[in-house]
Symmetry: C2
Subunit: 254 residues, 2 copies
Amino acid sequence: MIKISLIGSGNVAHHLIHAFESSSEVELVQVFARHKESIQLNISEEKIISDYKQLKQADLYIISVSDDAIFEVAEQLPFSDRLVVHTSGTKPMHILSDNNRKGVFYPLQTFSKNKTVNFKQIPICLESENPEDLKLLHQVANLISDKVFEIDSEKRKALHVAAVFVSNFVNHLYHIGEEICRENTIPFEVLKPLIMEVADKVNYLNPKEAQTGPAKRGDMQTINAHLKFLKDNPNQQEIYQLLTQAILNQNEKL
Amino acid sequence: MIKISLIGSGNVAHHLIHAFESSSEVELVQVFARHKESIQLNISEEKIISDYKQLKQADLYIISVSDDAIFEVAEQLPFSDRLVVHTSGTKPMHILSDNNRKGVFYPLQTFSKNKTVNFKQIPICLESENPEDLKLLHQVANLISDKVFEIDSEKRKALHVAAVFVSNFVNHLYHIGEEICRENTIPFEVLKPLIMEVADKVNYLNPKEAQTGPAKRGDMQTINAHLKFLKDNPNQQEIYQLLTQAILNQNEKL
């Protein structure tokens, strides 16, 4: 049995607690939450604490709080030389307190409290100061996920930039698509199967090979018609122009 | 039984033939292909023709060829006053020949010959010159798909622009994500579950509500760190800047 305590009650903490509770090889020792009522999971009440002094011995302490609070929380832990990790994609490992052995346990996914996720499919990115701790983190991660990776702080920074492109920016393009539909009284429903298929294709094809459309074909007639269509929305037009140019440049490189 | 003949042997034609063959209420009369060997489906050989003069009577003729060939093909059909439709997302209905009754039967999806698709989930966008023909097109579309929409040529133009944003441009952002991973020796695998989840969210949330990330939070510290990270790739940096600004502008509108 691996003894784990969790500090935090946000979306990531919520999903991690749920995943650990489902594993027969993890003993969830305690969950720290400033406000006990924020823990809406089926765990016995005596395990939920809101005073750091009550934290018992565990093999692993996972700090899953907002980025800006990690340092402060890590400094308040009333023990030393134990394994303490954070779950952030943006913060380096070293921001944790020097009092304890440091590590990162970063599940790369966009979590919403009300949408269930299959944790087995969520990549977990690991890092630690020493090989022994990394071994334990691997053991824990493998219990709840089929996709475990070692990613150091430097790589995690790059990974986060890439994640912004494929999630936040992609979502903004969905928003533009929805807006164009709305303004032309077309139901956005029409585009949803296309959105799903384009995403699904990354599982079969390299995105560069999967590219299609007017820019890929160098079809300037359609591109110019589209730019003209967007003339009343300079922001959308600029995005169209820039991404089309990027795809055209890509063609030249082939 | 609705009698349908198909003209063309590309990806869309291929998937349509397959869908019609699976319906007990459609009689696939003939398939026209310039090169018979391009039809790799289990249909009897006498149905495949490569001479327009052999085209028999049918209730509906579907021209599924490349955009630039539609007009020429329509002009060559050796009959008049029959219902002839094309399957293009970009071309208006009127480019079809005046010899026949015009319509559009546009399945909005990205097709690859080797990847099976569930046609029931593919939106079909319909248009026709007269209500009687529209009724027949609805009947046919409902036989193979659960998602049937009436979209006139003007709206279809807007829809195509929106589709470029949510498919070609989104795919280019996947490409950038893959490139950043590759350059930093991170397996692109790490990002795939995130890609799928962001796409899946459009089924539950409006994209504007679903937005997350540094730009949404107005987290200028992370944004500036990312821009610095991208300093050696002006093209990626420009795309980052423009899309971040677009999300920041969006925040102000809320």
